[in-house]
Symmetry: C2
Subunit: 491 residues, 2 copies
Amino acid sequence: MSAFQKLIAHSKKVSHFDHLASIVGWDQAAVMPAGGAEARSNAIAELDVHIHSLMTQPHLGDLFAQAEEEPLSINEKAELREMKRDWQQSNLLPEALVQAQSLAGSKCEHAWRTQRGDNDWTGFEKNWAEVVKLSIEEAQIRAEANGTTPYDAMLDIYEPGTTSASLDTLFADVKTWLPSMIDEAIEKQRSSNILLPNSHYPTEKQKALGLEVMQLLQFDFDHGRLDESVHPFCGGVPTDVRITTRYDENEFVQSLMGIVHETGHARYEQGLPKSLADTPAGQARSMGIHESQSLFFEMQMGRSQAFIEHLARLATNHFDGPEFAKANLAKIYTKVEKGYIRVDADELTYPAHVILRYEIERDLMNGVIQHTDVPELWNEKMKTYLGLSTEGNYKNGCMQDIHWTDGSFGYFPSYTLGAMYAAQFMAAMKKTVDVDAAIFSGDLTPIFTWLGDNIWSKGSLLSTDDLVSQATGDVLNAEHFKTHLENRYLR
Amino acid sequence: MSAFQKLIAHSKKVSHFDHLASIVGWDQAAVMPAGGAEARSNAIAELDVHIHSLMTQPHLGDLFAQAEEEPLSINEKAELREMKRDWQQSNLLPEALVQAQSLAGSKCEHAWRTQRGDNDWTGFEKNWAEVVKLSIEEAQIRAEANGTTPYDAMLDIYEPGTTSASLDTLFADVKTWLPSMIDEAIEKQRSSNILLPNSHYPTEKQKALGLEVMQLLQFDFDHGRLDESVHPFCGGVPTDVRITTRYDENEFVQSLMGIVHETGHARYEQGLPKSLADTPAGQARSMGIHESQSLFFEMQMGRSQAFIEHLARLATNHFDGPEFAKANLAKIYTKVEKGYIRVDADELTYPAHVILRYEIERDLMNGVIQHTDVPELWNEKMKTYLGLSTEGNYKNGCMQDIHWTDGSFGYFPSYTLGAMYAAQFMAAMKKTVDVDAAIFSGDLTPIFTWLGDNIWSKGSLLSTDDLVSQATGDVLNAEHFKTHLENRYLR
């Protein structure tokens, strides 16, 4: 057996334990009773330790050195690159730092759950100081290994190959047109009447409708399920993808489009290359590309007129009410509104929330600002980008997200990168696929064939830049996103 | 850290991986889509290999030798005994035999699923020959280590301390009175009119009723769930017990009493000593004691007049129909009928099915008979015990159960041992608890307190014989079971 083959066998072994982690993770979020939590945490911690010990076995370094001398095909080289990346990520941080981060993150997040409601910045800041300090330590260790700035090293965890130089360029462009576009769209919608949800929408009916929408989206129910959880997510494994949603019986808007969003994630997982299953090159490319698929489903396809007609048609199987009329549904799903809260933001204002966070976390990791500067910076940027003040309003300002409480700095850009990738994929797809006709017909196969061929089946064989270039003929640029938003909100 | 403490830490580590196995096992049976099966099998196989490697670590032998020299409390000694037993069981069989058994068992069971329907003894016999041969090999290795007969060594896997000498005595007694008692009961019921289920019983209503019955039985929903699966079982972990049932919308009889049965298993798990969680002495004592709890719930308590009144009362929340009248429900749940199929058998005929299997598997493992002798012996014994011929009827004869297809010889006696233990526990409980009054009142606390104090909280601290003696003042004898059956079926 060659060193490369030994590394593949080792990856598959690790992947089997990752499988267990995914399933018990789903179980914890979707079905586990509260009283099971403590024993479950202990079991998961044991599993994490075991996976970490597998990833840090001393003989792996020699195997990587040997494998790099072996004659490998292009795909095998990609596999080796991804395996090595995973191995380096696992071996980079001292055990003591990982443990300190885990403790500080848990403490900060746990306290945050009440501090946020109390608008208690002073209390939060005390715990968060430690989280930020340890994350900067992490960023510096990673930066030294990668030869990048600290923030770029954090970005690399979620978006391999993406740099703040490229994000600065992309976002600088967006900032030139986004604030005025938001104002213009709001002005344009001012006189429009929307009928908002105003009835009782039983969970069972919402679920039945959601399942029909998943069928339209060709979700493979032989390899996945729909369930409920407090925070919707896409979990499980590629052969058994578990998506969840949350039902609010006073409205249907969130759960319905939430299911479309998670189905996008799920189809990506279900479409990953089976021949590379259980190895790193067979996994999704990055958080941003993952989000591009959920946002392709939710925004590019899901909010198109043709798709909303399907939603309106399917809704009549379960509900009657003028709020489900297609023109009204379209208005609901394209309403633009400036707000404080990112997770409630619409397609148009969402990038403003992300750019704000990106600029702050970049400067925080690079030591340009201190964590105590964050509330003031947040307030300034909210005023600039969305015209809203958050002075003294921490709960709806810099304390609103969970991401920073446990040190996930570098994650936020993925959301808007995903939206941009999605727009660029749609523009490229339209060169060869009659997308509107396909959606209108109700047989979305041509769309999924394009995504399958160009994105899903590639796994992590290509770098993100190569994946995007090969699929669209160009590296990422914000132009397609801008055109998409203009067409939807200003025409 | 003493050797004993190291062994405890090691047991807890193994237990955390067992936790993962339990949860993904539940998932596989209760919620996993079919397409997830292959990847799941690979993940579970990897986990099994890892658990086995933990249990066979070479340094454990030294730790056991050292721990036996350390000063230990009575409970610690029990813990050491149980840990050592688990360790010995894991180290006894050569890897090659375990793998051969796994292959032969899978092959035989898989083919059996169609061969049974085809009544294809010739086809089955070819695969089964290998299963029996390997099980005899296993039994002989175990026998040599335990200093017992081969069959007693197999019995010891499920019922530590139980021997065929004691079973021969118990069952010889039962055989003197059971066949005539069955005839007498059937004769007594001949003129009785029963209204059988004859309507449509929606799953949702059956489930709602089942949940109410579980509440009456004080199932802790903060530490467990009710779900559905093809083969009902009790799984999960003590802090999160997963029971399942199967609904047939043409009847309610099976699912309703099935839930009572599984709740008995679940309360035992939920009542195990928390201070010994994740260690062998904190686990259930044996298969027979586990079955004693489910049968205490299902037979001793669940089929009592007072309990059936509760079932009739709760049923009116969901169903109306004369079949739910308490007198009719009592008739349904105490109907005696001679039949071919063990899993469909009633309380009174069930022991005949078990004794038949016990006598055959005992002689098979001890080399007294050959596997080709089984159909004829089955037919003879069915005629003797239940007056039914299975000549040429393999599918409803010796091919009916899954147990022997994968080599689980020694398991069957647990069912009837459980029924006998349950009767003896009830007789003992009645000395200090007014059981009928407790059931009648709907507050079953006094019953559960007795079971908690005498059985559940003991885990595996005592041997089975000591557990039964301390709880009832006597070792197991069949007299209580006989008296119980006489009172229920002949009075």
